[in-house]
């Protein structure tokens, strides 16, 4: 049964040691791929001519659009992990959504900052309270709130389950961000790459954008797996410290 095989594979990963082994094997490859793709993407970005209207500033797009995509994808990864925490009690799922939150906040901040830099020459203002901008800003606040909540609790298991509930409730914001440009007709332009009748963006801009998007996605997964590995190590270190403290408390240790 291929399905049961997939489930076995999946639950194999629940063992943190197996996950660490897998992470050690694939991380160098992923990091290398990310570096190569970034090199290609940046070369394409700077080799392409500027837009006839926007000039050089169009190059901001190659950073802005992928990080905006990632800010939403990261939240989706967290929502899936949150389901994993609550439904299957998968031990890696809580590590996953805990470590994804700072990454998501970082990508959202990059998207907001580059969008603001792009908005100044194009729209003539750093910030407008447009539907898309506002909802992404709300997403940023939600990431920060989740980080604060996770940090505020001592017990990692309890913190993970509680923040999983909040992640799932906050997921309503993701469709709002995605469709905000279609529902409210405001300053931010509607989607031009992912749409039913094919991309409306010119090929000259599309290719570098896609390469950069894949590079950013790989960067996210590399950082995420590395952060998960660090989190597992951190938990092991603190568990061992606790054990060492308990041993030191007993007088019947070696030195006695």
């Amino acid at each position: 049964m291929p399905e049961s095989l997939a489930i076995t594979k999946f639950s194999d990963l629940a063992n943190p040691t197996r996950f660490l082994g897998l992470a050690a094997r694939i991380l160098p490859w992923m990091a290398g791929m990310t570096a190569i793709l970034f090199a290609i993407g940046l070369y394409l970005t700077f080799a392409s001519d500027g837009d006839y209207q926007q000039g050089m500033t169009v190059r901001i797009m190659y950073v802005h659009v992928p990080s905006a995509w990632l800010s939403m994808m990261c939240y989706s990864v967290m929502a899936v992990s949150a389901i994993g925490t609550l439904v299957w009690r998968h031990p890696l799922a809580d590590v996953s959504h805990k470590t994804a939150a700072p990454l998501g906040a970082a990508f959202t901040l990059i998207a907001l900052a580059t969008g603001s830099l792009w908005g100044k020459p194009m729209w003539g203002t750093w910030w407008v309270w447009d539907a898309r901008l506002t909802s992404v800003f709300v997403l940023f606040l939600m990431y920060l709130g989740l980080i604060a909540l996770t940090r505020a609790m001592d017990d990692p298991g309890k913190a993970a389950r509680v923040s999983a509930v909040l992640i799932l409730v906050g997921f309503v914001n993701i469709p709002i961000i995605k469709f905000s440009v279609d529902w409210w007709n405001t300053l931010h332009q509607p989607a031009s790459v992912i749409r039913l009748d094919g991309p409306t963006i010119d090929k000259e801009f599309l290719w570098p954008l896609l390469v950069m998007a894949i590079a950013f996605t790989l960067l996210f997964f590399t950082l995420h797996i590395a952060a998960m590995r660090n989190e597992i190590w951190r938990r092991r270190v603190s568990a061992q410290r606790r054990m060492a403290a308990r041993m030191a408390g007993q007088p019947s240790a070696k030195e006695a």
Binding site: V138, M142, A152, K158, V162, G170
Partner: protein, 219 residues
């Protein structure tokens, strides 16, 4: 269930319950605005609905962290978790009691504040109506935040931070419906119906999420 409703209501109305403090805070927030923007009556009547809504939102946040925390402190939360009624229903009842104790007074106080802000009768009526429909959504969203932060010793500020982003849609449609009632070209019904939809959506999501969080913090 009725007993729980009555008990929570009594607790919130009696001294130390915080229901009246919420209304007082609401009036203070709105009273501070003219000092900030100046006593220009035309300007005040234009921004009035927004100010009243923001004041109501802030004061609704004020009482949220006590929603489950008092029950946790005196141990009744454990009894609630152990009983055979579905926890979701219990949470829903507690939300209703919280709204009757904290939300409804805000709605009743809003016309008076509307007069202070020099709003027209239509605007006052519309603001009151939207508040009546919108504040339950704030309570339901807040229940999730309150349940999530129930175990934290000083969770009050954190609850506000967690709840505010989710409450923004309520604010947007509440204010836009209030404005639509006054300004002619914009129709009143669409934003108002969306507000009703948001409230009903969170009436389902809120208790489920809060019950899930309470179960998980209890062990």
């Amino acid at each position: 269930m009725t007993a729980l409703l009555l008990r929570d209501l009594k607790l919130s109305v009696r001294a130390g319950g915080g229901a009246l403090i919420g209304v007082l805070f609401f009036m203070t927030v709105v009273a501070v605005i003219p000092f900030g923007v100046g006593p220009d009556l035309n300007l005040l009547s234009r921004i009035g609905p927004a100010i009243v809504w923001i004041g109501a939102l802030l004061s609704a946040l004020l009482g949220l962290d006590r929603m489950f925390q008092t029950d946790r402190e005196d141990g009744s939360l454990d009894l609630i978790l152990m009983q055979e009624h579905p926890l979701v229903l219990t949470v829903l009842i507690k939300c209703l009691a919280h709204w009757l104790g904290n939300g409804l007074p805000l709605v009743i106080a809003s016309p008076l504040l509307g007069l202070f802000m020099n709003m027209s009768e239509v605007a006052i009526g519309a603001t009151m109506l939207t508040l009546l429909v919108g504040t339950p959504a704030l309570t339901f969203i807040g229940a999730v935040g309150a349940a999530v932060a129930v175990a934290l010793p000083r969770g009050g500020l954190l609850v506000s931070i967690l709840v505010l982003p989710l409450a923004i849609p309520v604010l947007i449609f509440g204010v836009s419906a209030s404005y639509a009632a006054v300004e002619d070209p914009a129709p009143f019904m669409p934003p108002f119906l969306i507000l009703v939809a948001i409230t009903m959506f969170f009436a389902v999501i809120g208790p489920i999420g809060a019950a899930l969080a309470l179960r998980n913090t209890a062990d």
